[in-house]
Symmetry: C2
Subunit: 567 residues, 2 copies
């Protein structure tokens, strides 16, 4: 045991945080939405260790390698924490030579010893959600499916088209640079300059090209004519009509890929949010074909709003964190810098040569995308905070609170409460049930506990009723005058089916309300919409006018009922 | 980019491994079973960073502190990888003073720089599944719910009573030691000796007590009379009838707790697999009350069997790992040492003073349990390997494979395949659909791809049929003579409901077969039992004699149908 009175600095390490409460619920919902889509497309998951041999990571990240966390040399192998999930995946492919093709996803934490600039959306420990397709296939089919998956994820998250999938192709970019006259040794560095067009105006990028990187002014100006272009098939046709461009082999190959891509995206019904954007360059060196990046509408301004709102809504800001010194402080860091936006929420591309860096003989072409969960989280949370009903997010998923009441000589009916909980836990539908850890609890305290967690159903037992083999089921938050407002007595034998019926009705209602409103994540985690139509036990669920429910809600009911937002 | 031809040692660090393929499927199923139970009891989850400030971990693990992984000092804070999930939870409680009560679970990796002795079931990176209840409550209620949760988890995993939850109480142990005359400064070290009774015979433990630890022989012999005792309420009564014992304050308090516990476990219907076992001592110093440990039947012998079987069934043993040097090698390490068993599969206890080590003022009593997923995994896998149908575990969850066929001039119908996949992905039920990334695929190759992953349904399109607005749905593995053996033609407009109907039927069937056989995990991940009763579309699912399905299976069907094991 540690000596008593030992002083600890009670905090998490710089750039890390604990995830808890409603934030965990929201984050888990984001994970499960993303995972569902990955599985829908036949992906499997691989779990690699948090640390790798240091040699495996060396030479993969250019100058960012200085951000890699090393483990202390305590004897034995020298290891480092993983910096991303792509290099471990490439290492795995190189090690497992009998796997020549795989669709894999991986959702895990990665580590970057960066200045923990919340202003850049950067923590030292953060999650990545990666999906990659490895293998030799007919061209552009995996690439197109990645775009399709991206649309499914953002639609699944309830973004309703409020995002743009920017697409470009390294061969097209290289073609432009070649045609414009960029010397071949300057192509990657000029590409890096172009990559800044989402943050900086053309004038600044042009200055970097000419002054910092020594490009001829007329070459820069020619590039400037191309990189402002964006569109869809129209842009493709325009480029294909340009004989000078088409004479360049790299350009021609890139445009052929884009043509296939557009054909496939049309068949995939995934064209709507796509923008073929010649300014998209991506920083990483290892991309060899398609590149993508997803931005959300009004990216920069939305960012300040969202972050401020998210910070305001954060239930427990760490008391220790103060500005620059402490761990995580969304509020002070980011909102003070108006030039910082949320930036991209997903990005990726084709990398056909990375696996070969580990094993030259076993070259496997790959294409993949990484979703930035932390950014998606803060946007989701901000949208919820902007919604007056966002407080409805529940901490836990308890569906039934079992409580007892009685007059003089009340024993607390503890064993009866335990038995009833057990009955519910053992029921086929696996009802989530809790009770108060108190021998003789007050009724008020039990109701408070149920309400605190937004528990939708209570089972109330009393001595006289128990003697008659009866218990009361009470739905929380029914409007005044509702026939079940005061609860309904049911036989103990019918308890499980009666509870099950109500849980099912609630979850069906929730689903319908969500579908009707096109909500999904944001709606799905906002709490339980109350079942407002009169209970119609004889007609069953089918008969109830479920989608009209929210309109009928009385404002006097105990829990606020979320209205369905117009958007 | 790294220089070409750079040599890498292609392996994971010592004591770590990649999780992939069927192992991932099994492990995920174990996680979801455990998580479901935690949530059913109202728990929320907290995610803490993988590394903590080194000071937080110091002084918590006694001499095992040398096993802690440190991060390199790259400037800034000194951090270490977490060693367990309990200390970070206690740190969190101390930091979050407005949380005075919580049920939390945490499933995450922990790190121990131990000799990676697979023979002891120890990896350097491994998962823990922790559930803890913190807060001041009426005595023994949280403790009893922990036991109840433990039974739900092992029943949920399909262990069908093949486990024992050993219970004891630190105050009872201390009472025995005091009554027997152990000097107070020797109580913890004698307790450690008793803790070895699950591995060593009494004679050896007695020798350690007397020779190594200098305990008087008559004292050791008195202890020997008690620590062999086990039972349930009978043992409790026996101890309560012993006036000498009851005169000891610690013993009296411990027995009062146990009496409450048995009352509550009875109401929880959780007594069946419980053993009140006076030999249970647990190593960790910080336990202050109830302690538990779960062992599985025939623990030591089952271990050798299970590990050998698991190793034999491992699809891809790492080619690099060789005995002591390499990463993970179940086979050579463990089966060569017959004295090593699987040991406990879960363990925990009450620790009322740990939070106070971080913050004296904010003392919060806690009780918790940690499930050893790696051990549970190897036992599960061994049981599946012992089952001739275990090969049925599927790698992915694809439900529908969309394929095309045609004669001369066959185009491949690629866009049509993409459209049909899209239709399925967009369907309400979210069918998991795949297709071959090939413009003009051969029918055989498409069937092979579907079969390789055990995909249960195919949608086959041909040019003529498409022209008539029709496609064929084919269920894989139907017996010869089955009316749908060659597939059924459906209108393109009916495709989604027809596919949905078949997926639903399959998943219902699977559930019923599992329930009938009491399988759960092992059954749930063994693949899709084929629907053998004749399709009865007019009667719907209710009419089919589903539970009798396996008996009718023809051995000639394409995929082997798992028989329902007797046990």
């Amino acid at each position: 045991m540690a000596p008593k009175g030992q002083k600890f600095e009670l905090k998490t390490p710089k750039g890390t945080k604990d995830w808890e409460g409603k934030d965990m619920v929201i984050r888990d919902k984001i994970f499960s939405t993303i995972t569902d889509v990955f599985k829908r497309h036949g992906a499997v998951t691989i779990d690699t260790p948090v640390f790798e041999l240091k040699d495996i990571l060396s030479g993969k990240y250019g100058e960012d390698s200085k951000l890699i966390y090393d483990l202390a040399d305590q004897g034995g192998e020298i290891c480092s924490l993983r910096y991303d999930l792509t290099v471990p995946f490439a290492r795995w492919l190189a090690m497992n030579r009998d796997c020549q093709a795989i669709k894999r996803y991986h959702i895990a934490k990665v580590y970057r010893r960066d200045q923990p600039a919340m202003t850049k959306g950067r923590m030292r420990e953060f999650y990545q959600c990666d999906f990659d397709i490895a293998g030799v296939y007919d061209p552009m089919l995996p690439d197109a499916e990645i775009v399709r998956i991206t649309t499914e994820i953002f639609e699944g998250l309830g973004w309703n088209g409020r995002y743009t999938i920017k697409l470009n192709h390294r061969k097209i970019l290289d073609g432009i640079f070649e045609v414009c006259g960029v010397p071949s040794e300057k192509i990657r560095t000029i590409s890096s300059a172009v990559d800044k067009l989402d943050k900086s105006p053309w004038a600044e990028v042009r200055r970097e090209m000419t002054e910092d990187k020594g490009l001829a002014e007329e070459v820069a100006d020619k590039i400037g004519e191309y990189v402002v272009l964006k569109g869809q098939k129209d842009l493709l046709s325009k480029l294909q009509d340009d004989a000078t461009l088409m004479a360049n082999a790299s350009m021609k190959a890139g445009l052929a890929d884009m043509e296939l891509l557009f054909t496939y995206l049309k068949a995939f019904n995934a064209l709507e949010n796509v923008s073929f954007d010649l300014s998209l360059a991506r920083g990483l060196d290892y991309y060899t074909g398609m590149i993508f990046e997803v931005v959300t509408e009004g990216s920069a301004p939305l960012a300040s709003t969202s972050v401020a709102a998210a910070a305001a809504a954060t239930p427990k800001p760490s008391k220790k964190s103060s500005g620059k010194k402490g761990g995580v402080d969304f509020d002070e860091d980011r909102s003070s810098d108006p030039s910082v936006g949320v930036g991209s929420v997903a990005a990726g591309g084709r990398y056909d040569n990375l696996v070969g860096m580990f094993s030259g003989k076993n070259q496997i072409p790959c294409v993949g995308i990484s979703f930035g969960v932390d950014r998606i989280f803060s946007i989701t949370k901000a949208r919820m905070a902007a919604d007056k009903n966002a407080e409805q997010v529940r901490n836990n998923e308890t569906e039934v609170f079992v409580m007892a009441f009685g007059g003089k000589g009340f024993t607390g009916l503890l064993e009866e409460r335990l038995s009833i909980c057990t009955k519910l836990w053992e029921a086929g539908i696996k009802a989530r049930a809790e009770f108060l850890y108190k021998i003789k609890p007050k009724l008020g305290n039990q109701f408070n506990a149920a309400e605190k967690n937004g528990c939708p159903l209570c089972v109330v037992i009393g001595e006289d009723e128990m003697a008659q083999g009866k218990v009361k089921i009470k739905e929380m938050g029914l409007r005044d005058g509702h026939p079940e407002k005061e609860g309904v007595m049911v036989s103990l034998d019918d308890l499980v089916p009666e509870v099950r019926k109500r849980i099912l009705r609630k979850s069906n209602l929730e689903e319908l309300v969500q579908e009707a409103a096109g909500l999904k994540v944001v709606g799905g985690i906002r709490g339980e919409p109350e079942p407002v139509p009169e209970p119609q036990p004889t007609k069953g669920l089918e008969g109830a006018a479920l989608t009209e429910a929210p309109a009928e809600v009385s404002s006097t009911s105990q829990e606020a009922i979320p209205a369905v937002p117009a958007s």
